[in-house]
């Protein structure tokens, strides 16, 4: 569990690093996460100059390009506040790979290390820093949770999403087979190896649907793009008008369930 830094203490202010995927493709999820955090009495700061954590270049084998992009993000969080990221994948990049990326640059390395301890994945922050508890106001439903590989293996926060959902009394969390297996997104992998990626997401969607859950929730929009994109494609192929596997970011689900 990632609870160092401000663990246990409720901060008055935080930075929100939305990630480029949320900013451009899932803005509603970002807004819902911010609304939830503000409802907890926290001032949320959104540095306007933020772009992308640099992971796409980093994992594709272009550390120089990743460094240029990451160096820019390093300058955005001057106050000693937690930086909350609504993605295990991008949080993992900033927390674990920034210090490695700047290993040969003493000044930036120090900045990266100072930033690293302040990086929190969204669900981890809710559970382990805020002790988030909120009354479930929704009707009974069954959902299935997909946890990203980065959240699970790099950030070690694979339990917090489930914890948040189980605290909602009307929500039953279904268990899919091969839960810990990757959905097949992998950034540029989905483009460079489309056949294997396609097979992986096909199996993932099948296992999620087999639970009979009404929707899938995840704390990573990269996985959601892949999973929901395939589910919608399949619906289209098979002539279904309504989505057989709707889904959303866990922040949107939590906010809706706990709002009047």
């Amino acid at each position: 569990m990632q609870t160092q830094g401000n663990a246990g203490q409720r901060p008055s202010d935080i930075y929100f690093f939305a990630t480029c995927v949320v900013d451009q493709f899932f803005p509603g999820a970002g807004l819902d996460a911010i609304t939830l955090l503000e409802r907890e009495g926290i001032r949320v700061h959104f540095p306007e100059e933020q772009t992308c954590c640099g992971q796409p270049a980093y994992t594709s084998g272009f550390p120089d390009e990743a460094r240029k992009v990451a160096a820019h993000q390093l300058t955005l969080f001057p106050e000693n506040w937690p930086v909350v990221v609504p993605s295990g994948s991008c949080a993992g990049m900033m927390k674990h790979h920034y210090p490695t990326l700047f290993a040969d640059d003493p000044v930036r390395k120090a900045q990266a290390e100072a930033l690293s301890v302040r990086i929190y994945e969204f669900t981890d922050f809710l559970v382990n820093v805020l002790g988030f508890q909120s009354e479930d106001k929704g009707a009974d439903c069954t959902v299935v949770l997909h946890t990203s590989c980065s959240a699970r293996r790099e950030m070690g926060v694979h339990l917090t999403g489930r914890q948040l959902l189980s605290n909602l009394k009307g929500v039953k969390v279904a268990q899919q087979d091969h839960e810990s297996e990757c959905c097949g997104f992998g950034g540029t992998f989905s483009i460079k190896q489309p056949e294997i990626s396609g097979a992986m997401v096909e199996d993932k969607v099948k296992s999620l649907k087999a639970t009979g859950a009404e929707r899938v929730v995840s704390a990573d929009c990269g996985c959601l793009m892949n999973i929901l994109g395939h589910a919608a494609w399949k619906d289209k192929q098979e002539g279904r008008q309504t989505p057989s596997l709707p889904g959303e970011h866990i922040a949107s689900f939590l906010l809706r369930r706990t709002s009047k």
């Binding site: 970002g30 992998f189 097979a199």
Partner: protein, 456 residues
């Protein structure tokens, strides 16, 4: 000298080969079932996560300690083995290794070599070299025997014939083994193989085996196996030739038990293998059996290249358990043959570039989501995803200049994403590989930063 496969380009055709498997529902289901079986067997061997973690750390430390002293230990190993009467040979390349082995065979006018399971012998394509030299090389591990009969290569380093169903094996035995009627009864199939092989052990001139651990201090070659064919290959024929990569060395016997435990539990989910052989020399004057000559061939084949780099050296920690394959979502989808390399799966992706060159293997480095499942189960904690990223870094030279320009510059980012959201109706519906199984990606009409401004 025979032609071996060192000139081939596994990267070429990788996508076509994987596509073929992925589109075969029968194979997909069969690989998935086999991997699930192995994953579940392993889980039962590690009921305590804490014990597993302690043991993995110990395994990592033992391997790193011994790799740290590798040059000294190799000298020590040669001395100890020589003292024990085992003849030591050094091979830098597969060609050299084959020449050494064939040289020994020719000295003994050998006609038949019976082989215990050895991935290094696959790495040097020894069977082809033997065939070219007129020596029959016969695999005695059941899985290896099956793939040899089928004219194939192993698709998994521990379970070479995991891609075959019992019906396929039944047909193969019926067609290729004299006087065998079709049966898909597994016990009967095993008995058929066993009968053929038993006769060969008795008449073979040479027994060949791999090595799991070579102990420098005592000059002992340790061999892990389940079928007894390893013991027969190393004791029945008059000459035993062992072959191993130079990295399989440990300094002390004390180092073996933790690694052995990690190996069998991670590989096949067994507490211990059925056989564990410790070979410390040829037959002595007062002994009744055992080979009269024992040789060890130590192969480099790119290992010193990996060794020279602190990060890449971790690749050599591998004890060849295959757990990374069993847990890999990519291997599970495509099986071992699609990789086109001797060692498939995650470990294959990081070791093959040292053997075949980066150019020949660079596509393989892209065939990973970096999900981390391999690193998580590796019994000696090889950071496989980090090593894959390192290889990606070294494989690709054309930089993504435009991408970096946009994302390092807030103003360009703002313009580019504003255009994307405002003109999102212009998003193409055909987005290449992405839309082959997914709906198109379309930027939202308003970005998060726009929604935040509106709200304020």
């Amino acid at each position: 000298m025979s032609e071996h496969a060192m000139n081939f380009m596994p990267s070429e055709g990788f996508r076509a080969r994987s596509k073929e498997v992925v589109e075969n529902p029968f194979l997909r289901q069969s690989f998935r079932g086999a991997m699930d079986f192995l994953i579940n067997k392993r889980i039962t061997q590690f009921p305590s996560a804490e014990e597993l973690e302690t043991l993995r750390t110990l395994g990592e430390q033992i391997r790193q300690y011994n790799l740290g002293k590798l040059p000294t230990l190799l000298v020590q190993l040669e001395e100890s083995l020589t003292r024990n009467g085992i003849q030591v040979h050094w091979a830098e390349t597969p060609d050299e290794a084959n020449a050494i082995i064939l040289g020994i065979c020719q000295k003994h006018s050998a006609k038949l070599m019976v082989k215990g399971k050895s991935m290094v012998s696959e790495e040097i394509e020894l069977n082809h070299a033997c065939e070219a030299a007129g020596i029959e090389a016969m695999e005695s591990d059941m899985g290896e025997y099956i793939v040899q009969l089928a004219g194939e290569k192993p698709s998994h380093i521990i379970m070479p014939a995991i891609h075959k169903t019992k019906e396929e094996i039944a047909r193969l035995f019926h067609e290729k083994v004299e006087g065998v009627d079709y049966t898909d009864n597994v016990d009967e199939l095993i008995q058929i193989g066993r009968k053929v092989l038993r006769e060969k052990f008795l008449v073979a001139d040479i027994g060949l085996s791999g090595v799991n651990f070579a102990v420098a201090e005592t000059g002992t070659l340790c061999l892990v196996e389940n079928e007894g064919n390893g013991r027969l290959s190393t004791t029945a024929p008059p000459v035993h030739i062992a072959i191993t990569g130079i990295e399989k060395i440990v300094e002390k016997l004390d180092h073996v038990p933790p690694l052995l435990s990690l190996l069998t539990r991670s590989a096949t989910g067994q507490n211990i293998s059925t056989y564990f052989n410790m070979i410390s020399g040829p037959r002595k004057a007062d002994e009744k059996d055992g080979p009269t000559e024992v040789h060890l061939v130590l192969l480099d084949n790119g290992r010193t290249q990996a060794y020279a780099d602190e990060q890449l050296r971790k690749t050599l920690q591998c004890i060849r358990c295959g757990a990374c394959m069993n847990h890999c979502p990519v291997y599970t989808r495509i099986g071992g043959h699609a990789y086109g390399t001797t060692y498939p799966g995650p470990i294959g992706k990081i070791i093959s570039p040292h053997m075949l060159g980066l150019d020949a293997t660079k596509t393989m480095a892209t065939a990973s989501t970096l999900c981390g499942a391999c690193g998580e189960v590796c019994p000696v904690k090889i950071p496989i995803p980090d090593l894959l990223m390192r290889l990606r870094e070294e494989s690709f030279s054309e930089p993504h200049v435009a991408w970096a320009m946009v994302y390092r510059s807030p103003s360009l980012y703002k313009v580019a994403t504003w255009l994307g959201s405002r003109f999102n109706w212009l998003t193409p519906s055909n987005q290449g590989p992405w839309t082959s199984v997914r709906t198109p990606l379309k930027p939202a009409p308003k970005r998060l930063r726009d929604l935040l401004k509106e709200r304020a």
